[in-house]
């Protein structure tokens, strides 16, 4: 879907970075291209996925939860069952292997909810790499448990105290580290945003989700699903499950963004639904920004979706109409969170709950003949404190 050599998706994507990083991006691009066609690399990665990640992940039909979705059949792609509890590990293992291939010994990563940080720290431990994770000071407080996890895994966590002290500022700080230490360090970006080749490379490491799902659905129900749904922060789990279905025109692809307190209130993180085209973190995409092009702060109950940008390929899929994007409010997400927990015995990540809330709407719209495939991107253990607070459960 990349339409040229420097990573454009239509008018989106590209590279907006200091010259200092161009060499590293070219090196990474080349390593990624070579790895794609190198059987040794592919075998090594698949073997890790089989024996470490726990792939292929299963599909669970959610029969009781389906009752809240207008009777549509609901299929959950269980990325929550991966090692470290989310889809993030797919990308992290791929990039960590590339890091070794490029002869670098240090990785840096940004994290919001802590899931990508934990996955990065995990891969670093497994492959013997030094790991530094940048995390907004606000988020280190919201996700204290994940900070401890990263430290237990041997990573250094650096709280970021500039700007809004959240994910966006953690990315800024990681970029500054990278500009300074690029000769020895790989920036292991956690989503399909950033300058080329990140959007393409991270997608390629996640497309295994859709590849597996497509085959599994054909085996399970003898046909393709009517719609595929996923939550969208930066957009990695969504593009991962969408990609195999892009050419199946009968399949609706639906991304659910974080609507926070409601898009109309301005307190949200629904970048495509409520943002405008601009440049952020090295790529042209939809951005939450003011009239002067200053980035606006995003708001979401889910730290992993709390980002004022989005991957450029989603901006493109939106513009050409191949995928649809809708906003889910904090309250709608928390209702779906609770319903899935009680009807299926699966506690989802709050990020993922946005996709589930989307299924409740889309299922009612599409009716009981339809089959919906949902990317269950992560498990909710990390969110127990936030959810308990939300529902008034004393801790």
């Amino acid at each position: 879907m990349t339409t040229d050599l420097i990573g454009h998706f239509g008018r989106f994507g590209g590279r907006f970075v200091p010259e200092a990083l161009i060499g590293a991006l070219e090196e990474l691009s080349l390593a990624h291209q070579e790895a794609l066609t190198d059987p040794t690399f592919q075998v090594e990665l698949m073997e890790l996925h089989r024996t470490y990640t726990g792939r292929p992940s299963i599909i669970t039909e959610a029969k009781r939860f389906a009752e809240y979705c207008g009777g549509a059949r609901i299929f959950l792609k269980r990325e929550d069952l991966n090692h470290t509890g989310s889809h993030k590990i797919n990308n992290v293992l791929g990039q960590a292997l590339l890091t070794k291939r490029m002869g670098k010994e240090r990785i840096i990563a940004e994290t919001g909810a802590g899931q990508h940080g934990v996955a990065s720290a995990t891969a670093a431990a497994l492959l013997g790499l030094e790991c530094v994770v940048y995390m907004g000071e606000e988020d280190t407080k919201r996700q204290a448990l994940n900070v401890a996890r990263m430290k237990l895994l041997g990573a250094e966590v650096i709280p970021v105290t500039t700007g809004s002290r959240t994910l966006k500022d953690a990315i800024n700080e990681a970029m500054r580290d990278w500009v300074t230490n690029v000769a020895t360090t790989h920036y292991l970006l956690g989503t399909v945003a950033g300058p080329d080749p990140f959007p393409t490379m991270v997608r390629d490491f996640h497309k295994i989700i859709g590849d597996e799902s497509r085959t599994q659905m054909l085996e399970l129900i003898g046909r393709l699903p009517n719609a595929v749904l996923a939550c969208v922060g930066g957009g990695s789990n969504a593009i991962g499950i969408f990609y195999a279905f892009l050419n199946d025109q009968s399949v609706r692809l639906i991304g659910l963004e974080a609507g926070g307190a409601g898009v109309e209130t301005g307190k949200h993180a629904a970048t495509i639904v409520g943002g405008t085209p601009g440049v952020l973190h090295g790529t042209r995409t939809y951005v939450l920004q003011d009239d002067d092009g200053q980035t606006r702060e995003s708001h979401s109950i889910s730290a992993g979706l709390d980002y004022p940008g989005v991957g450029p390929e989603h901006a493109y899929l939106h513009e050409v109409g191949r995928a649809e994007y809708q906003a889910i409010t904090d309250d709608e997400a928390m209702e779906a969170f609770s319903l899935l927990s009680k009807s299926e015995g699966i506690i989802p990540a709050i990020e993922t709950a946005h996709a589930l809330a989307g299924a409740m709407k889309i299922g009612k719209e599409m009716g009981d003949e339809s089959a919906l495939l949902i990317n269950l991107s992560g498990r909710g253990d990390k969110d127990v404190q936030t959810a308990a607070q939300y529902f008034g459960i004393p801790l």
């Binding site: 420097i6 590209g14 590279r15 907006f16 970075v17 200091p18 010259e19 200092a20 161009i22 060499g23 590293a24 500039t162 700007g163 966006k168 500022d169 800024n172 970029m175 500054r176 500009v179 300074t180 230490n181 690029v182 000769a183 601009g278 440049v279 952020l280 973190h281 090295g282 042209r284 951005v287 920004q289 009239d291 002067d292 092009g293 200053q294 980035t295």
Partner: protein, 261 residues
């Protein structure tokens, strides 16, 4: 010939490097940024670089980050940058990340800057591959286009980027972000020498320069010396506008003496 090009010629005739001073517009307030620039010029700065504060300055260290944040909190808007440029009696360029320019309108930005007498724009995160509309707009308004190259930039790319620069080429003295350093790395001189092999455009060195001794060293091999964070620090460390401007002026005086070979 542009005013900027005349300044380079004059400096060459006087056997010295050009001194370029950076300050963000609107820091700490719009009026004070204008008076601080005046103090810089009184102290001997030849060319002014006016920063356009941005919410996500990935090429900047803590000092410029803090100054940008202050300016934005005090209500800076893109139009203010033109007000500051308009008051400057010496050749003046704007330094801006790309998104505020794109948001303002690429052509409109170039037109406005030309109208207030700006000489050009330094764009630290705009790559030549993404520059089509920028090149046509700046050409049309006869504005200088300055890209920033780094010690890691390969020779083949230096040729490509230099070919699209005019006025001068900004050579980053080191791998890293803006902010004062105690030493200037040997990478700076090597980079300038590599650029000189592929381009006749003047080369100025910035990032990390803060003292007369450093400026003297760089003036030996570069056409210009760029100082930013050190001036901002003077303002941050002062208790009043008059104290800040005195300190800014005296730093400018020290640096201006140092760039004479």
């Amino acid at each position: 010939m542009s005013l900027l090009e005349e300044s380079f010629d004059l400096a060459r005739a006087e056997n010295r490097a050009l001194l370029i001073g950076y300050l963000p517009a609107g820091f700490p307030t719009l009026d004070r940024s204008i008076s601080a620039i005046k103090a810089m010029i009184e102290g001997g700065v030849d060319v002014i670089e006016v920063g356009l504060p941005y919410s996500d300055p990935v090429m900047d260290g803590p000092v410029i980050q803090r100054a940008s944040e202050t300016a934005l909190n005090n209500g800076f808007t893109t139009r203010d940058v033109f007000k500051v440029v308009a008051t400057s009696p010496v050749p003046t360029l704007v330094m801006s990340y790309w998104n505020p320019i794109e948001r303002f309108g690429v052509e409109e930005f170039a037109q406005e800057l030309r109208k207030v007498g700006g000489e050009g724009v330094i764009t630290p995160d705009l790559t030549i591959e993404e520059s089509q509309s920028w090149i046509s707009s700046t050409d049309k308004e006869r504005l200088h286009r300055v890209y920033v190259v780094a010690p890691s930039t390969k020779d083949s790319r230096l040729t490509e980027v230099s070919a699209r620069c005019s006025g001068f080429i900004y050579a980053a003295s080191l791998m890293g972000v803006t902010g004062a350093r105690t030493d200037i790395s040997s990478a700076a001189q090597a980079l300038v020498e590599r650029i000189k092999k592929v381009s006749k455009t003047p080369v100025c060195v910035g990032l990390g320069v803060s003292t007369g001794a450093q400026a003297r060293e760089i003036a030996k091999y570069a056409d210009g010396v760029i100082v930013g964070s050190a001036f901002i620090k003077m303002i941050l460390e002062s208790n009043s506008e008059s104290e800040a401007n005195l300190k800014v002026k005296s730093l400018a005086t020290e640096l201006a003496a140092a760039v004479r070979r």
